[in-house]
Symmetry: C2
Subunit: 287 residues, 2 copies
């Protein structure tokens, strides 16, 4: 997905929020914003939005000397999500269609995004998740029948993770896939990118107990293949089935011809429009 | 009020929305956004946000050759607001404290902002206004007693208008002031600035029947005194009481030592913080 003009206000919001989290002074925040502004006129808009997020992250790191401003928030997200892991497992155990429930839970976990500013918010969101039924109205693009069939046919599945906290929800689906006899390779980013999960998060959240966890090579909040490792690209090219979690992976992989199922909540109006769904929809879509 | 870093995402939103309204092509929209981006590093942040909005308007006008992209929206806002004028008059007539009700109505009209995208939205908002009671919770900064006293003492009042549509709500307060024997001078912008009211709007909405309508000289969505006419500045300096409507006038006049009452809805989180109220609050404050 290319970058739209409407992405620009969000780049600046991200610059301001992340600079603050990194403890930047007012002066440094302004310098970061100025550097971002100078990038805009030359930024190729046929690039994906995470390309810009990647450049922005480099500016913030250089200016603040902080490589991972979201570290504390990420730890907290993981801890909170792990707290409800038993409840999620119970839901799957009781379900008539365990794969469906595990898939719904994995997508619901995608609400935990970098917008999360306090533990209160994340607790509220998780609480809401368990009170709500997964409504049909939110699931207009939810191709579960094909997903189920394609999973049945596959032995080895590449699962590209997204945010911290969310990966506990992913663990539910990973474990269900494993129970169905599938081998799962779970890919995380190689370097910090907003609140995206790294190797340490995958281990903290116990994904490694069931899946083989690998680093994709990505240092962006998405999967920009040209920056990924050779071994990840090889795996990506040969995988029978790929599960791509979250908006960032969607933004960077929509042009791919590989058998990818995109699982995410459409939280951004531009992405919602691109995928053809209402804002807030639950998306399960093969490209 | 100075410009905050948090204002920057909004500048870009405004650039994109207004460019689209002006019928700019994708390419022209991008050029406008690029020009705005180039202004950021050199923009003096001790200027007020409407200073930037003013520069942005000049870029859009130069690039699209449209000097008033909001013309149609403005006409529609006026028309819709005029449609409920009789209902508003009835409210005041029935009220025990007519000045209070007229003041509440005038402030409520400030919800009609440039965010308004369709007639449906504005109708909904107006409908909501009449269903709601003016709740105390929203009125933490509502210094009505002093306002009432100061009005009693004044003979001549300078009333600085804000948006189209909203000026019909202002007319209610202007007429109440007139009924109390006050002479009201109602100032509008001299040139188009977002959806702000011009002389033609004041006439369309019948303000001129009760008040003397003047052009302030402003070509910004606010009142930047150095760009105003000499005669407006003279009036501003000598006025016994000034009523300043809306956020843009607040942003540009907070540093003034004149006896100004600011009447607005705090729709922007930065302004809400600056005035010390919750987002969405009804503000009546003397600086």
């Amino acid at each position: 997905m290319r970058t739209y003009l409407e992405c620009i206000p969000c780049f600046f919001k991200q610059a301001i929020n992340t600079s603050k989290l990194a403890g930047a002074s007012q002066k440094t925040q302004k310098e970061i914003v100025n550097e971002l502004a100078r990038l805009i006129p030359n930024f190729p808009f046929n690039s994906t939005p995470p390309e810009m997020a990647r450049l922005l992250h480099k500016i913030i790191e250089r200016k603040t000397k902080k490589s991972d401003p979201f570290r504390e928030i990420k730890k907290k997200s993981n801890k909170l999500a792990l707290g409800i892991y038993p409840e999620m497992k119970k839901r799957v155990r009781k379900s008539k269609d365990k794969l469906l429930t595990a898939t719904e839970i994995a997508i619901a976990g995608n609400i935990i995004d970098y917008g999360v500013k306090s533990s209160l918010n994340i607790e509220k969101e998780i609480d809401k998740l368990f009170k709500q039924d997964f409504r049909k109205a939110d699931k207009k693009i939810f191709d579960y029948e094909h997903f189920k069939k394609d999973i049945k046919k596959s032995k080895k599945i590449l699962y590209i993770g997204d945010n911290t906290g969310e990966i506990v929800f992913d663990r539910i689906l990973v474990e269900e896939l494993s129970r169905l006899g599938k081998e799962v390779i779970f890919a995380v980013r190689s370097k910090p990118a907003i609140n995206d999960a790294l190797m340490e998060d995958a281990i903290d959240c116990g994904i490694d107990k069931t899946a083989t966890v690998i680093r994709s090579g990505s240092d962006a909040p998405g999967t920009i293949l040209k920056y990924c490792t050779k071994s990840f690209r090889k795996l990506f090219k040969s995988a029978e089935l790929i599960i791509s979690k979250g908006q960032g992976n969607y933004e960077t992989l929509t042009e791919s011809t590989r058998p990818i199922y995109f699982l995410f909540k459409a939280k951004c109006p531009i992405i919602a429009k691109h995928v053809g769904a209402k804002l807030g929809s639950t998306i399960l879509k093969k490209m």
